[in-house]
Amino acid sequence: MSVPGAWYLALAAAVFSIGAIGLLVRRNVLVMFMCIELMLNAVNLTFVTYARLLDDIGGQALVFFVLVVAAAEVVVGLGIIVAIFRRRAGATADDISLLKG
């Protein structure tokens, strides 16, 4: 445990930023989804690091719930993506603008 927690937190912040940039930059819906997973994982790493620093297992329990919610989110999100691509093949995030005012 010689690596200070600050290094872990900085690494998690960097990965979160990369995921956020990817979410803003990419137009492929699946890759945007993967970027969301990146951000979730960065937050999980932050939770585990704080759990170690504060000597509290509650952070790890929260990561468990985040994992469950991420799994449910992926299932529903990929279902929506499959439904969209069934109607319009090759659609990107810019093409799905039916609700635009």
């Binding site: 990369i18 585990v48 759990a51 509290d56 509650g58 449910a72 439904a83």
Partner: protein, 194 residues
């Protein structure tokens, strides 16, 4: 020393994988890069004594979620390379990079020298006798029991939602024009006559 080595290797794998997800043109390559990041996170979980979460990370994320991503990519046949040069909204990409890096520097600057505050736990500490799985289970099934039950409900709802979203609607039977009027009208008419 070995801790720093593990952290450096896993951290480099995480950063390289994250950059690979963002900058690879092929979605399949992006999914494989995501696996690399997830394994890096799992290694760092082990390094911080979160053994159960590391196992779950590998099994659920790398084993199930990424496979689901790859399955959808193959199913829909969108494993074509995407042209990253075209910019749909002018000036959006530089702004996105600027925003992301700005948030990163703001977080690092604000947190400089003041990473952790607060007292350490006395209710459910990580240190002490017992394995990590045992401690996590005891806190999960006592203190967070309601949340645990709610997540099971959430999973059921997600499964039902996925089935509803991806299931094909049944074909509406076409009613031909020369079908005689149903018998209900006749009975009403006869009652009116009486």
């Amino acid at each position: 020393m070995i801790d720093w080595l593990v952290f450096a290797v896993a951290g480099a794998a995480m950063l390289a994988g994250a950059l690979g997800v963002v900058f690879s043109t092929n979605p399949v390559h992006a999914a494989l890069m995501l696996v690399m990041t997830l394994f890096g996170v799992a290694v760092l979980f082990v390094a911080q004594a979160a053994h159960f979460l590391a196992a779950v990370q590998v099994i659920v994320y790398a084993g199930a979620i990424v496979v689901l991503f790859l399955f959808v990519i193959m199913l829909l046949g969108i494993d074509k390379a995407e042209n990253l040069r075209t910019e749909p909204l002018r000036g959006q990409r530089p702004l996105a990079f600027l925003a992301g890096l700005g948030v990163l520097t703001a977080v690092l600057f604000l947190a400089r020298g003041a990473w952790v505050t607060g007292a350490s736990s006395r209710v459910a500490p990580i240190s002490g006798p017992g394995s990590n799985v045992q401690k996590l289970a005891s806190v999960l099934f006592s203190r967070y029991l309601l949340a645990f039950e709610v997540t099971s409900v959430l999973l059921v709802i997600a499964v039902v939602g996925a089935v509803v979203l991806t299931g094909r609607e049944p074909e509406v039977p076409v009613v031909p024009d020369d079908v005689p009027v149903s018998a209900g009208d006749d009975t009403i008419a006869s009652e009116v006559d009486q």
